[in-house]
């Protein structure tokens, strides 16, 4: 049950953004993502009612229920579309979208591409565990070749998606990869992603301890390292880093475009303020002008 909203006194802290206790399996990577997000919200310094956290369906998508902001727990794969509608209806809200790899890269793949192309001003955090956690561990669009799962008992034969490369190509203007256990970097990326005006995307490696086994954290610990000496304004260089495959997985900000305008900035009808606050209906004068064109 969501707890009653407490007025925040003084500077907000991560604690002010806590809600009910998550029902994730103990040890799930998503705990780290939630903690980072609560800190990031607090750091932003706005009221809890100024944020809208939107998700789809999956273990990871349960997150809005665990954070004390306005929340929408929408259909599987549809969070980005719903969030775009909410953002364009009230662009003064800080809209953060959270979800899983199945939700975002699988069933929601079409929305993923087009929300990036449109550069909608959202922060999108994907808790990528390379599996369908909630439906008890089938292969997902990011499951590696050869891996066995309930739906690939003889090993996965399909090539996994490269979300970071895809985001750079599709038009996201802030693209990063993080790891749920690297909390400090993750929090920073989230804060900067919220400040970024445009589509900010963070693919977070967030291991599923239940379907990947206890060794999963050791596996990632050995592979991740930090992206260094990289010019984040250079799109080609970002893509080059992103398509590097092999044993190492780089964490950090790959690409940051600070000049492109976001969809709400481009939209002239927002000059009169958020749509949700504008007066409704049409004036008799506007009506007469419409009629004149029909006579």
């Amino acid at each position: 049950m969501a707890k009653k909203e407490r007025p925040i006194k003084g500077a907000p802290t991560a604690k002010d953004y806590r809600s009910v206790n998550p029902d994730w399996c103990p040890g799930c990577g998503d705990f780290g993502v939630l903690a980072a997000l609560q800190t990031a919200y607090a750091e932003l310094g706005r009221g809890s009612h100024d944020h809208l956290t939107v998700s789809g369906i999956g273990c990871s998508s349960n997150l809005p229920g665990f954070v004390r902001t306005y929340g929408m727990h929408t259909l599987h794969g549809r969070s980005l579309a719903v969030a775009t509608g909410a953002k364009m209806a009230n662009h003064e809200l800080n809209v953060v979208v959270t979800g899983g790899d199945g939700d975002g890269y699988g069933i929601g793949g079409n929305h993923f591409i087009h929300t990036m192309r449109k550069n909608v001003d959202l922060l999108y955090i994907v808790m990528n565990n390379e599996t369908y956690g909630l439906t008890v561990g089938q292969a997902s669009p990011t499951t590696v070749v050869g891996e066995t799962s309930k739906s690939t008992p003889f090993g996965n034969i399909e090539t996994p998606l490269n979300p970071v490369a895809m985001a750079i190509v599709a038009g996201a203007t802030y693209v990063a990869r993080a790891y749920s256990s690297e909390r400090k970097q993750l929090t920073e990326l989230m804060i900067n992603g919220m400040h970024h005006k445009g589509f900010a995307f963070i693919d977070v490696i967030s291991p599923c301890i239940t379907w990947k086994g206890d060794e999963i954290f050791d596996y990632w610990k050995e592979r991740v390292n930090f992206l260094e000496n990289h010019d984040t304004s250079d799109k080609a260089a970002a893509l080059e880093q992103a398509v590097k495959t092999g044993h190492d997985t780089q964490l950090g900000l790959f690409y940051h475009d600070t000049s492109s305008q976001s969809l709400d900035q481009m939209e002239p009808v927002l000059e009169a303020g958020p749509m949700a606050h504008q007066s409704l209906g049409i004036t008799p004068e506007q009506g007469s002008a419409i009629i004149k064109r029909m006579m």
Binding site: M1, A2, K4, E5, P7, V20, D23, S48, H49, D50, L52, I57, N62, P64, G65, R68, T69, Y70, G71, M72, H73, T74, L75, R78, A81, V82, A83, T84, G85, A86, K87, M88, A89, N90, E92, L93, N110, H111, I113, H114, E267, V269, L270, A272, M275, A276, H277, Q278, L280, G281, I282, T283, P284, Q286, G287, A289, I290, I291, M294, M295
Partner: protein
């Protein structure tokens, strides 16, 4: 003045400017104060197909395209061959004589060959020469019906001077004069001519009317993915977005469309979208999610022939069960089928007030006939400022005595709805079932008592909704031999069939349904009790409405008239059917479509 009732039809290839011709003629009629109804039979081809536009003109309001054609304008050779037989005896047939080596033959009509090449020889630009053909042949028609050519010239100036320049206007004027004068010298005018009457009218299509209704209702967010025959709503919204301050988004698919609409509605906008059957199918899951999250939205489904991508440019009333069954589970919803083009305008604000009050999805069931047809209306009768009632919506922080519960259990089932951004009301809405405060009940190992409470709360809203919905309309004498029962767009054509039957001595009345769901069984049965031999008229194969009505009320009709060939009913289709059913020839009458495009 005796009633004026005249039908003009235009045949040609897409790209020949038939729509422009139709619009110009419609506008001319509207300026005369004459009522117009148009129906365009067309094909899903941008070039190379065939279009046949029927324009019925009357001194009295008219709501269908009639039975007979008085005058045909053939813009190409194909139309000459195809449509020569479609003119009524005594009518006229205008064609470009350059199209044929041998003149078409029919001695019971007036043939009006126009030597267009000769008339347009002064136009040097070949392309311009071709595009002026419709102006020339329309001018011939205007002469035959005794209309003022200057009105056409006015419209040409308005449409072309700024966009295309003086040269194009001059070219159109030259062939217009040539055609008009040629007709004056060589052809005989129709007996009755256009006569001005008050007031001057405006001319609008059904999709635009619904879009205008949305604007008047306060729609601030409109999203769409193009799909015939619903795209006109998008085009109107896009064209008017800037001057009316409406956010218009074209999305990657219909799933995105409806989910964006849900997001915008949750954030506080009145939000709407329109599509056709296939797009609506993609929206289904989200319809249920709007009901579950209790977010008010309006979705328009403009039906075309199904199943599947079906008949993109043809009409049908085949999606009723899709709307009734859209999305899994039980939830409150409203389904309404506008009964005329301007009823489409009024329906949208009416529906928005209901969905805002009851926080549920509202669905509008239009069809190609209604949406792509044009009709005239008296501009003074339009209500640009309908009542806007947003229901129990919390948009700012007021005094709060107790904890805010988004899904508070109430007697009415309505729980006040706080909009994101309002302090003190932070909550989560979810598509999984939830408790009063939004907490998921599925994650509490599905608490059966909470589930029952929240299900009953939501469904209680239906008891409120049904009280607001007007009963079906009843027109005609109480004691009738025959009762025609229809729903949605067929109101106008059934009315005229009723008139024909009564003129024929068969006492007939008409019951018509606009608000389809929910239905108040007692109220509806009371209206149905007035029926004589009952005949349900609908545009589909299986009698979707007949089955629905039987299921809701136990009412079993005596006979059925159904059409599913893609073309809309003409009045005589229904009148003939009623006669056959009356003599007991059959229980199901399927009219034969005479005009084939």
């Amino acid at each position: 003045m005796a009633k004026y009732d005249f039908v003009v039809a235009v045949g040609g290839a897409p790209g020949q400017g038939i729509e422009t011709l139709g619009k110009s003629l419609g506008q001319i009629c509207a300026r005369y104060g004459l009522y117009v109804y148009t129906y365009s039979a067309y094909q899903s081809l941008i070039r190379g197909g065939h279009t046949f536009l029927t324009i019925r003109i009357s001194s009295e309001p008219v709501a269908n395209h009639g039975d007979e054609i008085d005058l045909i304008i053939a813009l190409d050779k194909n139309s000459i061959e195809k449509h020569l037989p479609n003119v009524r005896p005594g009518g006229a047939f205008i064609y470009n004589s350059d199209d044929v080596k041998q003149a078409p033959e029919r001695d019971d009509i007036q043939l009006c060959p126009i030597p267009y090449k000769k008339f347009s020889s002064g136009i040097e630009d070949r392309k311009l020469q071709r595009t002026c053909l419709n102006t020339c042949l329309l001018s011939v028609a205007l002469n035959l019906v005794g209309a003022d050519l200057n009105l056409l010239k006015d419209i040409i100036i308005g449409a072309l001077l700024k966009r295309k320049g003086q040269e194009v206007v001059d070219a159109n004027f030259s062939v217009a004069d040539a055609g008009f004068d040629h007709a004056a010298e060589n052809f005989t005018k129709f007996d009755t001519a256009f006569e001005k009457q008050e007031p001057a009218l405006a001319f609008v299509d059904g999709n635009s009317a619904m879009a205008m209704g949305g604007a008047a209702a306060g729609v601030k967010f409109y999203a769409a993915y193009p799909m015939s025959p619903s795209t006109g709503v998008l085009h109107w919204m896009a064209a008017n977005a800037r001057n009316l301050n409406i956010m218009v988004r074209q999305c990657e698919d219909e799933i995105s469309v409806i989910n964006m609409v849900i997001g915008a509605a949750h954030a506080g906008c009145r939000a709407m979208c329109a599509t056709s059957g296939g797009g609506f199918a993609l929206m289904s899951e989200a319809i249920g999610s709007a009901a579950m999250m209790e977010i008010p939205i309006v979705v328009i489904n403009v039906q075309r022939g199904g199943p599947s991508t079906g008949l993109p440019t043809k009409t049908e009333q085949g999606d009723l069960w899709q709307l009734l069954g859209a999305s899994q589970g039980d939830f409150p919803k409203i389904i309404v089928a506008p009964t005329s083009i301007m009823d489409g305008f009024d329906t949208i604000p009416e529906l928005f007030n209901l969905v805002d009050k009851y926080q549920c999805p509202g669905m509008v069931l239009s069809d190609l006939t209604l949406s792509m047809g044009f009709a005239t209306f008296d501009p003074d009768t339009i209500n640009w400022q309908p009542e806007i009632d947003r229901g129990e919506m919390i948009t700012e922080l007021g005094p709060m005595e107790e904890e805010y519960l988004r899904y508070q259990i109430t007697d009415s089932g309505i729980s006040p709805r706080a909009i994101p951004g309002v302090p003190g009301h932070v909550h989560v809405v979810a598509t999984d079932d939830h408790d009063e405060d939004g907490g998921l009940i599925s994650d509490e190992y599905t608490n059966p008592h909470k589930r029952r409470d929240i299900m009953e709360k939501r469904q209680r809203k239906m008891e409120g909704i049904v009280k607001h919905l007007p009963p079906p309309t009843f027109e005609g004498p109480e004691d009738a031999d025959v009762t025609l029962i229809g729903w949605g767009s067929t109101h106008g054509v059934i009315s005229e069939a009723v008139q024909m039957l009564n003129d024929d001595g068969i006492v007939t009345n008409h019951i018509h349904f606009k608000w389809l769901y929910p239905i108040d069984e007692d109220v509806v049965n009371e209206v149905l009790a007035n029926s004589g031999r009952s005949i349900i008229v609908e545009c589909n194969y299986t009698g979707q409405f007949a089955r629905f009505l039987r299921g809701e009320t136990g009412f079993n009709a005596d006979g059925h008239i159904r059409k599913y060939d893609g073309e809309p009913f003409m009045p005589h289709h229904i009148a003939d059917g009623a006669r056959e059913l009356l003599i007991g020839k059959t229980e199901l009458y399927v009219p034969y479509q005479e005009i084939v495009v």
